[in-house]
């Protein structure tokens, strides 16, 4: 792989805290290696800012291997940047060339208020899970793991849905700021497994109610979420959410 260095112009959203207004600020970074990851480029910029006596840019990140779901940058108009099925931390600088200008913004959603710079508060997702994203089984209650055979296809589909890392790229990408892919993935996972059966109806109704309460938008099936999801979660999970919701709404006896 050809290795090269580049100078870049960065336009980065700076915002002191959730109350104050933010704005885009421009920075120059020099001598960035094409082998660096995007966040390592930010590390370089931050080191430079600290040495210059300025405050570094706050951004969320943790595992840096694309699984924890903490990183969350809207890079050049796309959640997690230009690569497909990829998180910000896995994006490498060879995606850019010398002289490029890169705009970096936080996730934009009413339900994800900015805490500082590029850091947003995604606790809405936790509250949606609290509303029903679980199977009520206390520790020690379980029967033998092989007591219930599960169709391999259903198990595989459940796994594919469960691969969601909860990063929020779907919400950030969706023109409506909808969280249907996130909710659909969890509802699907648990609806596909027999263990999820007993709470199936209340789960989908409660999770959707919480989702709406958090201020997420509605799904209009543009499928942008699927295209930008770093784990390639399918919109078929949204369809399953819709059908679960309709069925539950029609058959449930509680209001």
């Amino acid at each position: 792989m050809e290795h090269y260095h580049m100078n870049l112009t960065l336009k980065v959203w700076r915002q002191k805290n959730s109350k104050e207004q933010g704005k885009l600020e421009t920075y120059q970074v020099k001598g960035i290696s094409s082998e660096m990851s995007f966040l390592e480029m930010f590390d370089v910029l931050n080191e430079q800012l600290i040495v210059d006596g300025k405050e570094p840019i706050a951004f969320d990140h943790d595992c840096r291997e694309g699984i924890c779901g903490m990183c969350s940058m809207y890079i050049n108009g796309q959640a997690h940047g230009p690569w497909q099925q990829n998180t910000t931390c896995q994006l490498h600088m060879r995606a850019f060339k010398d002289g490029d200008t890169i705009t970096v913004e936080p996730w934009r959603s009413k339900a994800f208020p900015v805490l500082k710079d590029l850091v947003v508060n995604r606790s809405a997702f936790d509250r949606i899970i609290q509303a029903g994203g679980f199977i009520s089984v206390n520790t020690g209650n379980a029967v033998d793991a092989n007591a219930i055979a599960i169709d391999k296809k259903d198990a595989d589909d459940a796994f594919m849905a469960a691969a969601c890392i909860g990063c929020g790229a779907c919400v950030a990408t969706c023109k409506n700021g909808s969280a249907m892919l996130f909710v659909g993935a969890k509802v699907s996972q648990l609806a596909l497994l027999p263990q999820g059966g007993p709470e199936r109806e209340s789960r989908v109704l409660n999770m959707v109610a919480q989702m709406d309460k958090e201020g997420f938008g509605n799904c209009t099936n543009t499928y942008a979420c699927e295209a930008e999801c770093p784990k390639g979660i399918s919109v078929s999970n949204i369809a399953r959410l819709n059908s679960e919701y309709l069925k539950a709404g029609l058959t449930t006896e509680t209001k």
Partner: protein
Amino acid sequence: MALDAKIPHGEMDKKWTDYKGHVKLVNPANKRKLEVIVVGTGLAGASAAASLGELGYKVKAFCFQDSPRRAHSIAAQGGINAAKNYQNDGDSVFRLFYDTVKGGDYRAREANVHRLAEVSTSIIDQCVAQGVPFAREYGGLLSNRSFGGTQVQRTFYAAGQTGQQLLLGAYSALERQVALGNVKMYTRHEMLDVVKIDDKARGIIARDLVSGELESHFGHAVLLCSGGYGNVFYLSTNAMGSNVTAAWKAHKKGAFFGNPCFTQIHPTCIPVSGDHQSKLTLMSESLRNDGRIWVPLKKEESRNPKDIPENERDYYLERRYPAFGNLVPRDVASRAAKERCDEGYGVGTTKMAVYLDYKDAIVRYGKIEAGKAGNDNLSHEEIVALGKKVVEEKYGNLFEMYQKITGENPYETPMRIYPAVHYTMGGLWVDYELQTTVKGLYALGEANFSDHGANRLGASALMQGLADGYFVIPYTLGNYLADEIHTNSISTDHSAFAEAQKAVSDRLNTLINIKGKQTVESFHKRLGKIIWDKCGMARSEKGLKQAIEEVRALKKEFWSDVRIPGEINSFNLELDKAGRVADLIELGELMCLDALDRNESCGGHFREESQTEDGEAKRDDENYAYVAAWENKGDSSWELHKEALSFDIVKPTQRSYK
């Protein structure tokens, strides 16, 4: 203070059952009055908080991430062991116990390991009931694979994302308890001290990382589930935020630190590409099943690996260990790679890497495919094409990940790999009940030292985290709390809280007011280099003594020249990091001290003074069959306590892979 591991008497396979049968219980009405603090929400923390919440305790759980679902347990790829024997291949609780003690190079506590093997089966049941989508066979039953060179197939997995799926299971159980009001969750909070009242842990001081404010929280007991300290090496496969702070604060408050020098180096990581590198990425060990590892025979080789002919390649693992070849255990493979690179045979831009080559595997699989189709007249290219397909099916996602990071196509050119720090077997010393040397203070999961000895087997970390949280602590904590039912909640106005909070606040003020010139990151990098070079895979008395001096000097420099921008009472990532690095520096010193004391080659590390005539690791059971438990005695001062290990069942033997 004499160490009492509180191992129950009796036969090895009856100890845990007997313990559970006689342990003190807390009645439901009293549980509601008892408060428990859980720090960290990885596999151990989330499972403990959820299980204790279910039992009826009032739980407060803390994590520094924005959600408990992000804890680094999520990154575990391979799988989780359990002695289910679903494959009818001769597995049993005893075998899992035996393999784990042996794999740990005889430095683990037998009773703890046996309990781990016993509860391993319940973990799988629990996870499946929670909706964890483990891999399944066409018949709908669970699939197993063999992992890390074991002779039985006992590893349960969910593609390469087992840790993620298990953590999400525990996370969902935790969030359910949050919704039920049994657990109160504090995200973006970091524990900065343990509060002790009358020699018992009674709470913590935590900092709200968003507002920067300090908070006092009372608990009848405090559980530390804060993970390992691999980031002392700066570069590791740990998450950027993984740290030792919670465990270290406990250590400073009287909890002994066990075997700090026992760290695990994983042989198949993607190598460092330059100074900018912030973290290393692991590739599953399964790659060694088919790949061949080699370096050029000639130093300073500059040819493209494809152009280096067979007779100028050194397949050093196959040469040195003909019986096991490329499948030698993690520690052996790691050390051998380091040895070749140190001798100047390394490859890649940094010369700190070896090749992992799939060329032969591709041809081998291609020929098998051609044979299956009864086609003998295929050209070499056609065979290669067939072989690539097979390799893609088996390792496609790993190859893709490699290509994403390096930009190189591993089907065409050999991958470059190098060992990296992956896990720390050392941690807070705990007894059989997972209690540290501070009453009421417990350590679970990677944060404790207990079950893996000097080397952890593949797919055992997830097992231990969940065993501690789901199935051990709910019993052992009750044994302590049963005597605490008369202790009313202590107000955080108590002078102990005020003093602890003031100490934390003073330290933060000191840090931010140093206003020096160097960044936190630059100190962390320097610390990592010292520890990696002198307390990594190979250690010597001379190097370790040097390292101790260097770490002490670094500590001094840190506290006089670090620059932390921003304010204390605000969202300040540099301040968070500074506190963690300051603790890692102190831990680094203790690691070197522990490594210096342990004049034997054992598990993951090689002590140069302790080797066989042909340069292999030599364990010294006569002098070092103990857990080194270090008591902090103030600044750069420790006292060593030894917990002698006895091996009643698994008799120690020297490992050989020749």
